[in-house]
Amino acid sequence: MSIIVRLQSEIFDPGTETNAFLKANSKAGAAVTFTGLVRSEPKNPITSLTLEHYPPVAQAQLEDFAQKAITRFDLLKATIIHRYGKMLPGEPIVQVMTLAPHRRAAFEGAEFIMDFLKTGAPFWKKETGKNGEVWVAAECRDDDARKRWE
């Protein structure tokens, strides 16, 4: 199976996931791992981030993005791990991994998946900080990022 999509509330270990993904494939020359982390900037610190999601649609959309990336960039495999529920600053939210014969495909495949995932899969972020709970607004630059693949 060349695609794995996992939605989970539990924290995951980025390095362990990377090593599991890299397991022997002699045609592979390039692997890219993208890890998205809960950010808490000094000028706007947060105490936690909560992700709500729509499970069946999130799963289907991520599988679709992974499949499109594999076809378009000729990847050997792709894995997406996405958390939901409550998480703390510094913790991983998402990890996207791609494996390809050459580096350009691995980089592009991972970026493609991330660009679609940001605005195309039903997840919603809520930050908890000194101003209480705030739903994170969608960003135009994320729509633009997605459009560059059209």
Partner: protein
């Protein structure tokens, strides 16, 4: 027909799920939004900026002009902010 609400829509409406029985005049998701808004002031307010409301019909993300005939579940949610 089951309606789902997510994120700030769910919070504002104080419910994540409800079952409704729209009349035959409701042909599309846009019609359904109009009809829901007519009957509920909180929904009317939440749906004010229509293009900020995304929808899924039977677990497929679709546009507002999609027919709702035979749909089991319609979900309403704000723009997605994954990753």
């Amino acid at each position: 027909m089951k309606i789902l609400y997510f994120a700030w829509l769910r919070e504002r409406l104080n419910r994540g799920e409800e079952t409704v029985f729209p009349p035959d005049s409701v042909k599309t998701i846009a019609d359904l939004m109009d009809w829901l808004a007519e009957n509920d002031e909180a929904i009317a307010l939440a749906f004010e900026k229509r293009d900020l409301i995304k929808t899924a019909l039977d677990e497929i993300i679709v546009e507002h002009d999609t027919p709702v005939k035979d749909a089991k579940t319609i979900a309403f949610f704000p723009p997605m902010t994954g990753g």
